[in-house]
């Protein structure tokens, strides 16, 4: 091989260097060149080979973009391999430190170990120390978008976001198909089966970030809204169940039915009366706990005082709201302790506490009704902070045109 190389003219050497992909300088190709340079004339070989000038000319034009890409890809691959290697070693070290078996050390164990060894008081979870496999940590990159000569693989490459626009193209195609299908059905006067209709309650479209992750491309707000509109159009068509899989790919199911899980069983006090305590009742800055005693008379005690603890009618109405809604106003007794916040926050916290505790004493239909009324939703809203340069959280200084 070395001899052939020396025999070749300098020009050919150069072109060879440019043409050949770095990773594969195999003997087969060189042999071809050798054949060329020594004027190979055997008939069978002739048809096996490409027309040598074309091949050469093709191979000559490895675009700069391609070259750059190839270099970057190689670097990235090496980098990822190194990270993976380090990650594995790190995992084994961690397992040793924790005194556990390195072979059966899962990701969850890794997280636990990191949290234990590097306790952090930072609230932002993304800013705390973490150790995850490099695929999750480093963003995904696209594979080769164009081949050696520079011809792009994807027909929409020159849009700049081929995956996204392919998606929109697919959606439109599906919509057109469904129109045709619908027309066919009407012509044939067939009756569609009700059960096949698509049920999209209980799930939402992917968020913009999730879509970006899926497509490995950036998506602007306008494009995302367009995507949502198109998908909604697709779903609204009568026979959309045909493309159910396609649609399901882009739907995220919501975390539901949490209110129906883990309903606490009431404990019993000395007299045999059932009672349920809900701790951590929060609303704004109010914190407290609520105890509901089952065979009761409708007595309400707040911090040792009667309902007169709240002087204004609105707070009182809020406290009574769950009782009236479920009709348990004279069947339970309520004792609560509350501190912090103002009347609105405290009464909101008690309302949630009562509703949450009543789950144990109420049947399934009423439970669903309560959930629909929103009584069981924890109110996580807090006061928005004031930002610098503005008088308030949202209020801006007077707008001047110039």
């Amino acid at each position: 091989m070395f001899l052939c190389y020396n025999k070749m003219s300098f020009a050919i050497k150069l072109t060879l260097k440019q043409a050949l992909p770095i990773a594969s300088r195999s003997s087969i190709i060189l042999q071809n060149v050798y054949n060329y340079s020594s004027k190979a004339t055997s008939q069978d070989n002739f048809y096996n080979n490409f027309t040598d000038w074309e091949t050469l000319s093709k191979k000559k034009k490895v675009s700069k973009a391609m070259r750059a890409y190839l270099e970057r890809a190689k670097e990235h691959d090496e980098f990822m391999k190194k990270q993976q290697f380090e990650y594995n070693i790190g995992k084994r070290h961690l397992a040793n430190m924790m005194g556990e078996d390195p072979e059966t050390f899962t990701q969850k164990d890794v997280d636990r170990a990191v949290e234990y060894l590097f306790p952090s008081g930072i609230y932002d979870r993304a800013a705390r120390p973490l150790m995850k496999p490099p695929e999750e940590v480093f963003p995904a990159r696209k594979a080769a978008e164009f081949d050696e000569a520079g011809w792009p693989h994807h027909f929409l490459f020159y849009t700049g976001k081929p995956n996204f626009f392919k998606l929109l193209y697919d959606i439109t195609e599906n919509i057109q198909d469904l129109y045709k299908y619908g027309d066919k059905v009407i012509r044939k006067k067939e009756v569609t089966d009700e059960k096949l209709l698509l049920n999209i309650t209980g799930s939402v479209w992917l968020t913009k970030d999730q879509l970006e992750q899926l497509l490995v491309e950036t998506v602007t707000d306008l494009e995302y809204d367009n995507f949502k509109l198109a998908m909604d159009r697709l779903v609204s068509l009568p026979h959309s169940h045909i493309y159910k899989d396609f649609i399901e790919k882009f739907r995220k199911p919501l975390a539901t039915q949490r209110f129906a899980l883990e309903i606490p069983k009431p404990s019993y006090d000395e007299n045999g009366n059932a009672f349920v305590t809900t701790y951590e009742c929060l609303r704004k800055k109010a914190r407290g706990d609520v105890t509901i005693k089952s065979p009761g008379t409708g007595k309400i005690t707040i911090n040792g005082q009667d309902l007169t603890y709240f002087e204004d009618t609105q707070s009182r109405e809020q406290v009574i709201f769950p009782l009236i809604f479920t009709g348990m106003q004279d069947k339970v007794d309520i004792v609560c302790n509350i501190e912090g916040g103002g009347p609105s926050g405290q009464s909101g916290a008690i309302r949630w506490g009562i509703a949450w505790g009543l789950r144990s004493f109420v049947d399934k239909d009423m439970l669903e009704a309560m959930q629909l009324a929103g009584l069981l939703t924890r109110d996580h809203r807090r006061r928005e902070r004031k930002k610098p340069g503005q008088p308030g959280a949202r209020k801006k200084p007077t707008w001047k045109r110039r």
Binding site: V204, R287, S347, L372, R382
Partner: protein
């Protein structure tokens, strides 16, 4: 553009789980920090349905289970499921409220209703025949509904500029805007009152007048309608 950043804040965990004095101090300090939390619920939360009548409708159409599986926003601090709660009254109280003083606003509106009730009961007792007695409306909320209905405009005047001149062109009005204008006019009419007369009394008179199709607010609505009728010729300017 999403306006919330959802981060799990362990403030509550701090308060309830740690017991040592040092961490208590840390926790109380933490409590004063305004940690970024969502100030509104994400889009996929549904609005709550807590009135008994609305829920009854859903039970009939068997959609209760499906909707209960979704996340639902909690009802606001002034909404209850009691029979006496009226969304129009809540809206009115919000419009009357100034500087966030809901207590005072609610008080004023309730006193106005009381005044209406007293006036109407007096009229009821003065009325002699049962037919007349039946005509007297005693429920102040009904009077409010009637008054708002009578003072809602059906068209509005839009200023459209053509060739340098701004014409007042009659155009359609949405339900929401029409309601908003009705309440705004009622409150404006009430606020042009004598210094010695209190807001609830004046408001009661305005509502009774409006419910009777007399009074300043209804006149204003009729003026708008008359102007719209007068400017009918310019209606096509909206589409030029």
């Amino acid at each position: 553009m999403s306006n919330f950043r959802y981060k799990v804040g362990p403030i509550a965990k701090c308060v309830f789980q740690t017991q040592s004095p040092r961490s208590n101090l840390w926790c109380t300090l933490m409590q004063y920090r305004f940690y970024p939390r969502p100030t509104s619920f994400p889009d996929y939360f549904q609005n709550p349905i807590f009135r008994k009548e609305d829920q009854a409708k859903l039970i009939e159409s068997n959609e209760l289970t499906k909707l209960a599986a979704l996340p639902v926003k909690p009802p606001a601090a002034y909404e209850t499921s009691s029979v006496y709660h009226d969304p129009l009254v809540s809206k009115l109280i919000n419009h009357v409220m100034k500087m966030g003083n809901k207590k005072l606003a609610r008080n004023l509106v309730e006193k106005a209703f009381e005044n209406i009730k007293r006036i109407q009961i007096e009229r009821y007792h003065l009325a002699t025949t049962p037919e007349e007695k039946a005509k007297v409306v005693l429920n102040p909320k009904d009077i409010l509904h009637k008054a708002v209905e009578n003072s809602k405009p059906l068209l509005q005047l839009l200023p459209i500029k053509r060739g340098g001149i701004t014409y007042q062109v009659p155009g359609p009005i949405t339900e929401k805007r029409s309601l908003f204008l009705a309440i705004k006019w009622l409150l404006e009419a009430t606020n042009d009152k004598e210094r010695t007369i209190h807001f609830p009394e004046q408001f009661a008179w305005e509502l009774l007048d409006a419910a009777n199709n007399t009074g300043k607010v209804v006149k204003r609505k009729q003026d708008i309608h008359r102007q719209c009728e007068a400017n009918r010729a310019y209606a096509h300017y909206r589409w030029q």
